[in-house]
Amino acid sequence: MLRSQLFLLLALLCAYPSFSQKRDERQYRERAAEVRNEIWGVKNSAFELKAAPAGYEKESAVILAKQIQYELTGKMSRMGLMSAVRAHFYILTFRQRVQINDKAALEEFSELSFQKSTKRAALAKKAGSKVYVGVKILKPGGQERELDVQAEAIDIKSDSDDKQQKVAISDLQIGDVIEYYIRVEDVQDYYVPIEPFSMTLADDYPVVHFEFEARIEDEFEVRMASMNGAPKLVPKRKDGYIQLAFEQKNLPKEPEDIWVHNQSALPTIKFYLRGITPGMFGTIKKGEVLPPLKASDIEERFSWGVNQNSPAMSELRKKVRSVMREREKELKKKDKELSTRQIVEMIYYLGRYYMLYQEDEAAEGIVVDQRRNNWSAKDEWYADFVGGMLETYDIPFDFVIMLPRASGSIKNSIDMNELYRMIRVRDGKNTYYFYPPNMFSHLGSIPFAFEGSEGYVIDLKAKGDKKITPFKVPAGTPTDNLSREDIQVQFDANDPQLLRVQRQRLCTGFHKLDYQERLLLFEEYGDAERKRLGIEGSFLDDIRKFPKGAKLVEEYKQAFVKAREKQKEFFESEIENSIDVKPKEMTAYKVVKSGLDPADPAFVYSSDFALEGLVRKAGPNYIVEAGKLIGGQIEIKAEQRTRKYDIYGTYPRIFEYQIEIAIPAGYKAEGLQDFTKNVSNATGSFVSSAAQEGNKVVIKSTKTYLHNFEPAANWNDMLAFLDAANDFTQQKLLLKKM
């Protein structure tokens, strides 16, 4: 008896997954039906528009109506009787009605993929997400047909915690209107931060009618920003919910300009919600809709030092301090001590070495190829390290709080998590910035994404409103970011249409990083940096001390070999990317200066190669497309030449070329005057010339971008020098047989 009961129990346990799957599926279908009625059961006149108004005939598709609904609740009552934890219930509905005008649009709207469900391990019951989809098609004759999505969908993935489906939309043709909704319902533990919500009021297709509604339970604090002409939403309150809603007609299409930041150009609404999250700083203003973070809010919420006592931090500090102490001891013998400058430099460079360069014994993989070159330190953790070290040395410091320019103004910031921090040390005339380093940065390097942006300085030791003050991130000048190429060209002795080129490029500032990441070998610069910092031994000496060190060293050496092979490939592709011509062969390549030494910060590399295709033959003469040696220039497409949005460039910069072409014996050079260009205005310049010096033609060109930002009104000025650079590339040199 007992035995058979046990057997039954086992059988039941084994059967449980399929029972539970069937139950899940039943519940999914029931909920799907409810959602359908919720969305399509309520009349919404905007979604009754049957065809696009006049004026949209040339569009691929027209969005007749688009609706986004956002709902967040966090009450315990929703959890059911058995449950004792809070959870966040998040509901997002995306619905749109689209008129299909051509084949491209038909292709785009004829398939729909969605994440049917996910399950997460969490305290909350049923933590995870479900997605419900509805589709109907309206024929030009007025007939309407609804798809049975669940019957027509097929599985892409069917794991119990990750189900994905896709559906081919049946009976959809050009001229039809498709209306569909995607409803996401998500249950998440209350301690998981809520994702900020952001939407740009523009689309790939024109939108005739747009409506948005957010319903947020008054358990939450809402912080909201309306940017770049987006409507200012006035909250309404009803039944314990905050309601934010608006409607708009005729949303624009997204621009296709270059150098646009959507967050700085297009109408955007974003909000950030906070519930009762444990360990959160400051109090929650339940049920309130707050404006973007003010300086005082940022100051109030700011904290640092949470990582101070972690074992990894102690270990790192110990290593850095040990090298610094040695230096102090040496100096003490000479009755000297470390200057502030020496201290901050050692904190920066030694800290970087032990964080990013030295191998961690527990490291799982061997990463010493170009992937290593992309490593960088983490924001908050790094500030805690630097702050702790500065405190040890009694050096006062403060924090700079900032936002990348692409994210819009810090005045519209709604979420502390989107802000970046760096440490500032002021020592008399000198100011030092500690931004989290990458493998090649120098003390004071700040990424160009922040240059010229408005931020704040937080001085925790100051009193009252002096604690936080406005700050402008310093912006560089064109000369800080110089790229200079020296190109020596000779004609192949046997084939005058083959050019033998020796090219050396020097770059400084922001020009460096991309190329350092691709062209430098950790094997070489790692130990050079170590030596510069006065750390004894070598990278491999450290590895040798690990358990099974001797074998490991062999593996590392093997990995170095592979990295060197990749380096060669990177050098070859660098030539092609720079000159826009694939080199016929590369005969030599080398890194001349790594750019790591702060006293000699330029990155210099060179390569020798042969180029085909730039020399045309004209009877006994040759025409050299010498202008092409400065490589492809930014081309502005016809449709981009008129401009509405401000121009967010990368950084002020200079590209300089000196090209020396050896004139072969028996020939003379003509056409030098065509290389003279001189366009210079308030946004930048392109200046070039050519002259004969002995048996060489020397061509010089300089392209300068003066700023990282220009108002749209200056676009024509920019076009003037960009066009001049393009014209230069078309210029040719004639080598005439004498």
Binding site: K58, E59, S60, N101, D102, K103, A104, A105, L106, E107, S110, E111, I154, D155, I156, K157, S158, K166, A168, S170, D171, L172, Q173, G365, I366, Q497, K548, K551, L552, E554, E555, Y556, Q558, A559, V561, K562, K582, E612, G613, V615, R616, K617, A618, G619, N621, I623, E635, K637, A638, E639, E670, G671, N726, Q730, K732, L734, K736
Partner: protein, 635 residues
């Protein structure tokens, strides 16, 4: 004999065994020297396929056991092993032995296999991520699979994505099983074959051994792997076992018979199909016009979506369902075309074929031979092939991918074996005619493009995928080759939805910077598009033949008026390079007041074989050089 202790000679034997295995196995350093570009290689691969009679299913099955021992020859790395399976091939087990010991912690994950362009397939992937903790670390994966029906056991390929140091593939074929093993693309791979008899199993054993097999690699424009990869094509013919005869595909009639049984059970409903066919052809009297109306309606209104779902990979969807859904795969579209035409009284039939992606033909009946279905129409004593998956294909035209391919056509219980007609390069002409004057440093004038055959269909297909509001921009970008110094104005085109007749584009051209002026001389670069310039094939890198998308015939005719006061002082030399598969010719002619330039490029054979690469490169180098030559006009 004392059983408590092993016999000394047994120890000696074991010692020698260990010694021998270590002598045979290559060291990581040796493997690295052999395959320097790889970090993970297969040290030893063993595959065995056994034909068995499965009593429970009363049928023949094929049991496969695959064992691949991977070794890390350089730097520690994680590596993913994946094995596909589907409804016809069951994955029985997948075990990993890490450094010799069974790794129970590593269990495969399963995913639907997503293949380019296929909307849904029943193929799944079992995969696992193996860790190689150090140089010399090994992982041996053992997979057991069962093919439930020998019909679906069509080939065994030898190569893997990583090189293989040593491999054995064994087929155990009981004498009751009739199967042909075709050895394909063995040349140059040093594959040894040994046949023996296993009396215990009353079976012939075919064993193929090979060493240092190169890895597989995807290359752009490469033909399908049946053309070049060493493999065995398995032709399962019949079996006499379990007291009865099992016939697979002993003859092509068997294969057709199976297809026939599937299409007989489609379940087409004639009434709604007829109603739609009548509606489409309403008011049309001419029979050929009716055929076109139906064929074009299917092209335009049924979206092609590929399904490979079990038996539905071979059996077409019902015609009425395709009509309702407005989508389907090639079989669905062929079936609907056929049913509609039959409803109108035409003799339309289903036809099976393999596209040029597959090297085989029907002389070796197998499910691996074909991958496509179209509709064959017997009309006016001719067979027309209607492939509605080819958008913008005119009636009577066949795409390159099906040209010259063998095709089986329904004929009741019998079948017709035919061949799809082939086109010539001239049928796909793209002609460019320019009439230019010199204006400063520009060439100005008028240009006309004519597209015929596949070059027309190809362009129409591309145009149809562009958003209407971007069409002009896209066309200009295409015509100017994205070069802002080639300016197009006053563009007119023929109807861009018309699949019949030539596609014509005309415009006023300004080709900036085409003329260089030095002193009394003008230098003119006469060819703008310079097709195939620098298209040299890297002989060191390229492993496979090259396959063009279709036969090409590119013609450019340019007339340049000589400006007053100038004479022609130098013309580039003519260029001719003719081989059976391709030819290039550039001609320059001087007349009293103008220069004529004529270029003709022909790709007659879409297969460019590796052996022909040096000749091709020689042609391309000559062509590229000549493109750089300038016309000189002097005052």
């Amino acid at each position: 004999m004392n059983d408590m202790h092993p016999h000394p000679s047994w120890i000696t034997a074991l010692f020698f065994f260990l010694l021998c295995t270590s002598i045979n196995a290559q060291t990581p350093d040796e493997l690295l020297a052999q395959f320097p570009k790889h970090n993970i290689v297969i040290l030893k691969s063993e595959e065995e396929y056994v034909f068995e009679y499965d009593k429970s299913r009363a049928g023949v099955v094929v049991r496969g056991k695959l064992s691949d021992e991977f070794i890390c020859t350089g730097v520690r790395e994680d590596f993913t092993f994946a094995e596909p399976y589907d409804e016809e091939t069951a994955l029985e087990s997948m075990d990993v032995y890490t450094n010799g010991s069974r790794n129970r912690g590593l269990q495969p994950k399963h995913e639907y296999l997503s293949i380019d362009d296929i909307f849904y397939s029943d193929a799944r992937l079992a995969y696992l991520r193996m860790e190689f903790a150090r140089k010399g670390a090994t992982n041996r994966v053992v997979v057991e699979k069962t093919v439930r029906d020998p019909k679906y056991f069509v080939s065994v390929f030898f190569q893997e994505p990583v090189p293989i140091a040593a491999k054995t593939v064994r087929f155990v074929v009981p004498r009751w099983m009739k199967v042909e093993l075709r050895e394909l693309n063995f040349d140059g791979h040093g594959i040894q074959k040994k046949k023996s008899f296993d009396s215990d199993r009353d079976a012939d054993v075919y064993e193929y051994t090979m060493k240092n097999l190169d890895h597989t690699e995807k290359e752009n424009g490469a033909p399908g792997n049946t053309y070049f990869a060493p493999h065995i094509q398995v032709l399962c013919k019949s079996a006499e076992v379990g007291g009865k005869r099992h016939t697979f595909f002993a003859t092509l009639a068997d294969q057709y018979g199976w297809y026939r049984s599937l299409v007989n059970s489609i379940g087409n409903e004639p009434a709604p199909v007829r109603e739609k066919a009548l509606a489409i052809t309403q008011g049309i009297a001419d029979p050929e016009a009716k055929i076109k109306a139906v064929f074009y309606w299917v092209q335009d209104n049924i979206r092609y979506i590929a399904f490979e779902d079990g038996i539905m990979g071979f059996k077409p969807q019902k015609a009425q369902e395709t009509m309702q859904k407005k989508y389907g795969d090639c079989k669905a579209m062929a079936n609907l075309t056929k049913e509609m035409l039959r409803a109108l009284g035409f003799d339309a039939r289903l036809a099976w074929l393999g596209t040029n992606h597959i090297a085989y033909d029907y002389s070796t009946p197998s499910l691996g031979v074909d991958n496509h279905m179209i509709c064959a129409l017997l009309y006016n004593n001719r067979i027309y092939y209607l492939d509605a998956t080819e958008e913008y294909a005119p009636f009577g035209y066949c795409a390159e991918r099906i040209q010259g391919r063998q095709v089986i056509i329904e004929d009741g219980d019998k079948f017709l074996l035919e061949r799809v007609p082939t086109a010539k390069a001239e049928d796909n002409q793209h002609i460019i005619r320019n009439v230019f004057q010199i204006a400063g440093t520009a060439l100005k004038g008028n240009t006309e493009h004519l597209f015929k055959g596949e070059s027309r269909t190809d362009l129409l297909q591309q145009i149809s995928r562009v958003k209407t509001d971007k069409l002009t921009t896209a066309l200009l970008a295409y015509l100017s080759d994205n070069n802002k110094y080639y300016q197009v104005e006053n563009m007119t085109t023929s109807d861009l939805t018309n699949r019949e007749g030539d596609l014509k584009i005309q415009y006023a051209t300004t080709q900036q910077e085409a003329v260089t002026s030095f002193g009394n001389e003008l230098y003119v670069g006469i060819d703008f598009y310079q097709e195939f310039r620098d298209a040299v094939i890297d002989l060191a890198e390229r492993r496979h033949d090259l396959m063009f998308d279709f036969k090409k015939n590119l013609i450019t005719e340019t007339r340049i008026d000589i400006p007053a006061g100038y004479t022609v002082s130098s013309l580039p030399e003519d260029f001719e390079f003719t081989r059976p598969g391709f030819s290039f010719s550039l001609h320059f002619t001087k007349a009293a007041d103008h220069i004529l330039y004529r270029k003709e490029i022909k790709i007659n054979d879409i297969f460019l074989k590796k052996a022909d690469f040096p000749t091709w490169n020689e042609a391309i180098k000559g062509l590229s050089k000549r493109y750089l030559d300038q016309v000189i006009l002097a005052k």
